[in-house]
């Protein structure tokens, strides 16, 4: 891959902000516009930008394909795990308020919802990244 200082520098500067924004969108999903799906996609776009700037091999080294798989599964486990936790505490699936935390019911609900959003965000991010990585491998051989 050809070295391109401008793109690399801009990316280096941009990526943390994109990721931060993604986290913001994910965490504010429970109370405002946004949520796991949108945040996850934004997060994935940071990786995609990274791939464009530094090449797929670099990303592969930093984030192995197995990690992507693990992250996508982890996200789902968080989501389903919280849902089932609610069942275990006697409420319905995703009936957050039943989980006994030392805060008020409304706060519990908000907190758990954010966890769920994080889970969704992780999965979406991982899946989007993996799709992009697959496509880029197919197009240009190993690079």
């Amino acid at each position: 891959m050809r070295e391109d200082v401008v793109i690399r520098t801009v990316c280096r500067a941009m990526i943390p902000f994109i990721q931060l924004f993604a986290l913001y969108v994910i965490l504010h999903g429970s109370s405002s516009a946004g949520g796991g799906f949108q945040g996850g996609v934004i997060f994935a776009s940071a990786f995609i930008l990274y791939v464009i700037a530094f090449g797929i091999m670099e990303v592969r080294r930093r984030m192995h394909e197995k990690v992507v798989v693990a992250l996508s599964s982890l996200g789902l486990y968080i989501y389903a795990g919280i849902g089932i936790l609610c069942i275990l505490f006697g409420a319905g699936f995703l009936g957050y308020s039943a989980i006994p935390l030392p805060v008020s019911a409304a706060e519990t609900r908000g907190l758990m919802m954010e966890f769920v959003e994080i889970g969704i965000g992780l999965t979406v991010m991982a899946v989007m990244t993996s799709i992009f990585m697959d496509i880029s491998v197919k197009e240009g051989g190993e690079d």
Binding site: K66, V69, S72, A91, F93, L94
Partner: protein, 494 residues
Amino acid sequence: MMEHLPVLVVIIPLIGAYTSLVGGWVDRRYAFPIAFINILTQFTAALLLTVRVMQEGVVRYNLGDWLPPWGIEYVVDRLNIYVLLILLFLSLLCCAYSKRSIGMEIEERKHTGFYTIFLLLVAGVTGITVTGDIFNLYVFLEISSLAAYTLVSSGRGGKGLVAGFNYLVMGSVSACFILLGIGHLYMLTGTLNMADLARVLPPLYTSTTLHTAFVFFIVGLSIKTALFPLHLWLPDAYTHAPSTVSALLSTVVSKMGVYATIRILFSVFTVEFVVGYFPVMEFLSWLAAIAIIAGSLLAIAQRDLKRMLAYSSVGQMGYILLGVGMVNQLAMTGGILHMLNHAVMKGCLFMVAGAFIFRTGFRRIDDLKGMGKRMPWTSAALVIGALSMIGIPPTVGFMSKWYLALGAIEAGQWVFLAVILASSLLSAVYFWRLLEYVYFREGEGGVEGGTGDVPLPMLIPMLVLAAACLLFGIFVSIPLSLIDPVAESLLGGV
């Protein structure tokens, strides 16, 4: 846990999908057992749920403890559970069948992904059956459709990819129509809960917007169910997909479209609407009748076994919709019963086709000479499946034909009666040709591949389905006991 069963049946395959992904990364061999055990667990859960439905009538579940119509509600009644059991039973058998059959058809590095997508598809179809929320239904419809596109194109060779792409395009068009329909409904009523919609819609029955929404639904669902002449994606997809996937598509995926159609026609809109205000049933029945004849005629013209079965599926979908379209209790029972029957017999036949390909690589009917001797058990399953498709008593195919024909007589629809009876003769033409090649013509040497039957993991699901063709035919009262009140409750208004 009993009260949470409606949501558990959806969550189990969702967790399983990713567990098999992780398991598959650890060791490729783990993916299959995880998937299989998962569907087995899910099937058990569905059986438990059946017990509850039989006791309580309708099981309701509010997701996240939000009350409907604000929250998403899962509603399981007899129709849902009946469809769910069919889907899971077939998924289980297809999963078992896939263990050996995908070996040749799908690259090995894709096997883990195959089972993940497989389970996602199962999660999607399960979600469709249990949900009582029309937008949720759309989401699950998309999950399962996307999974289906992927599975179709997962095989080796480019043809599957092209077929999968065509399927994707048609499926997405259909999804757009459905989404537009849902959007219109939401715009009109502000609710997405099916029961709520059915309650608030009647005063709006003359509204043009509602009619537009309804047309969107009909078109979208017709593509999903491959109703003639919107079936064009189907033959390629069924033919070029790996054998397991063909079986899965023809049994599970096609049924979910039919189920969604029945739900939306009768539970969101009502009989009153579809008969009185927007007389679409007559139109649908005629299309279905044409589908039956056209599907059979096109099947006669095919030389490729899987393609022939695919066209026959077009006709069989017509059977189900014809039963639904005649809007009387007997025909409706016949149509709903045929969902099970078609799943059982077509699943069996696609597995047989897959077994022939697995052993010999032959896809063309002319090449199957003398298979009766080389693969006796596979061919025996073929005979039972074929007889059932023709509708010879006491197989399942006859039972639905009986109900449909009685329904046609009751409705006074002589043309439909003739179509139903004539189509069994047409299917005799193309299935008998197949049997003639398999049993009564001697093979002419030059046989590549081994002889003998396929390995047990492929043989057993096939024989289970063949046995089901006979058993559900002889003991047809078992499925009937589940669906007997369904037709009545769907047709409540008439």
